[in-house]
């Protein structure tokens, strides 16, 4: 029983990362209709940057978290301004997808050049000794990971529903033209969305890397898992992204007990894709979003 629970917890840890990636994709998509597959790459990039910061400058692992969040939100705004916004002015959404795939590859290449074909990790934020609860062994980092997801979800919700920038962002998401007429700087709202996605990539990468090892090859599986989670949850729906991510991780963990890991992953994905047959708009998506 306890190791059944352990599989579920392991799956949920994977799921937290997928959820954070999907959430970033969802925020970007809802405001700019761009599917940013590069989000998976930025998570690994943030992780390896944090590792280098920690080992190179001797900063404590926890202290790398706020640093990476700042660097990545500012960095993503820069990337959006320099690469994505200009491309978005000219390219069709399908072409833009290619642009983000290209960015994903570029991030992978950068990781290979900068860090080599090697796995990286760093110590846990609050010690490597796991907490023992009812026969379960929980690395304390699991709590940080769950916290990172909770903070992202809650923070995003507060921002969107309780502030006027959030209102302006929702207006932009709903109808950029009508929003612009009220004096909302639509381009700026899009940049903020990219900044938020950057912050989430940093949160995900920095909190996950102490539990695991990451290297440049992780980039694509993360992008794919995040994308599936976002689509199944309902592209553009934040609740959906989180649900999709956690569900994907959970199913993988549970199926992995009985089958080969590849088969488990395939089955989990197939099951979620089957959801799309019944609900093409995803679990939390609105049909309107699909049509647009």
């Amino acid at each position: 029983m306890s190791d059944y629970l352990q599989s579920i917890l392991g799956g949920l840890a994977d799921g937290c990362v997928y959820a954070l990636i999907a959430l970033g994709m969802s925020v970007i998509y809802s405001i700019s209709r761009i599917i940013s597959l590069a989000q998976g790459g930025f998570v690994v990039l943030a992780a390896l940057c944090a590792v280098s910061l920690q080992s190179g400058l001797g900063i404590s692992p926890l202290a790398t978290l706020p640093i990476m969040v700042v660097i990545f939100s500012v960095g993503m705004i820069g990337v959006a301004q320099i690469v994505i916004q200009p491309a978005a002015k000219r390219a069709t959404p399908e072409r833009l997808l290619l642009v983000t795939v290209g960015m994903l590859q570029a991030v992978g290449g950068l990781l290979l050049i900068g860090w080599g074909n090697l796995p990286y990790t760093m110590p846990a934020f609050t010690g490597d000794a796991p907490v023992k609860v009812a026969g379960l062994s929980l690395p304390t980092q699991y709590f940080w990971l769950a916290g990172a997801l909770a903070v992202s979800v809650l923070g995003l919700w507060l921002l969107l529903t309780k502030t006027d920038i959030g209102l302006a962002m929702r207006a932009t998401a709903s109808n950029p033209g009508a929003a612009a007429l009220q004096g909302i700087r639509v381009d700026r709202m899009r940049l903020i969305a990219f900044g938020l996605a950057g912050a989430m990539a940093a949160l995900a990468g920095t909190t996950i890397v102490p539990i695991t090892f990451l290297q440049f090859t992780t980039v694509t599986p993360y992008a794919v898992a995040g994308f599936i989670a976002a689509v199944v949850g309902g592209l553009g729906s934040n609740m959906g992204a989180v649900t999709g991510g956690l569900l994907l991780g959970l199913l993988q963990g549970v199926f992995g007990r009985y089958w080969n890991a590849d088969l488990a992953q395939l089955t989990a994905i197939a099951l979620l894709v089957a959801v799309l047959v019944i609900r093409p708009q995803g679990i939390f998506g609105t049909p309107e979003r699909v049509r647009r």
Partner: protein, 392 residues
Amino acid sequence: MSAMTATRPRARLFGPLGVAAALALSGCSAVAAAEGEAIRIGLIASQTGPGSQLGIGEVRGAELAVEQINADGGVNGQRLELITADDQSNPSQAVLQARKMLGRVDAFVGPSTSGPCKAIGPLAESAQVVNYCLSPGLKPEPGGWQWSASVATHDLTSRLVDYWKSQGITRIGLLTQTDSSGAEGAESTKAAIDAVDGMELAGEATFSPDAVSVTAQLQQIARHEPQALVVWATGAGAGVAFKGMGQVGLDVPVATTDGNLTYAFVDRVQNFLPDPLLIPATRDFWDPAEYPNDEVREIEANYHDAYVAAHGEQPDFGPGVAYDGVHLVAEALERAEGDAAQARAELEKITDFDGVVGTYNFSREDHRGLAEKDVAIVQATKDGFEFIGGVE
């Protein structure tokens, strides 16, 4: 002599060639004549991309071998030349680079990994050029034009299981990554356990290369109470597994693939090294005291010392196979008196050839030439690889 260089490439050119190869060659024949009287080996290695960790070392090892062969008078008095190309760890690039080289080179060494090796197989076959592939993952056809470097996975696992048996370990757990090398490791390990009386498989699980944690799999295995664990995974996957062992408190000897025989890898996972972490390894990783004779001792010293002098570090997996590959191919070309089409027959006749990876015995059926005798167990420590035992 000049007549020979002129006929050498031609013999192949207008022999039973594929149309594509002929097209690729037509532009090159003038160049081939102009380049004169050297013997040329084309080295295709993954100098960039995921295989670069192997490829860069391979180029170094091959260059070292060419240098030493030329210093000893070349191949039948002719200078040996190395033409290198980067396949970017990509099969289609490997084919492209091999095409470009056809007609200019007398044999191929490389590529670095099994995908690109398989991709250029048909080309080597139709052009009738020897191809000494540097990946152990290739399974060469008897009598074909391709060779495969280093020992086969089943020889590695079989030596490992024998070693553990000698240590009184009988229950072996198995954790593998779901990629082609992991799958082959799993199969070979199970075959090796089956082949030895009294050994049994104690728990088995797989994980995908992007898994964040494998603690659940490790706990599943731990329930079977293994006395030792095989982790057939490279890179991040191996790291995740080692880390997970600490988390679930599974404290048993671990063995892993020779794909992890790199100093850089051990350095990355040094804080999570299982005690001990064993790797079945070829002779270039052994303790000099274990070499079979003085001749081998000299060959190994020649290689290791020159490599360290040139690059300031010990060679790991890549340089050794390329170094041997160049020596073997050069030996075959020498025996064939420079006739590339004869090189396959001559290479198949090479036996008892002492290289740095092991002692090669080729035949029509065996295009690998190494066996379990060339494997021993080393232990990965923070300071490098330490010889443990298992030599016959």
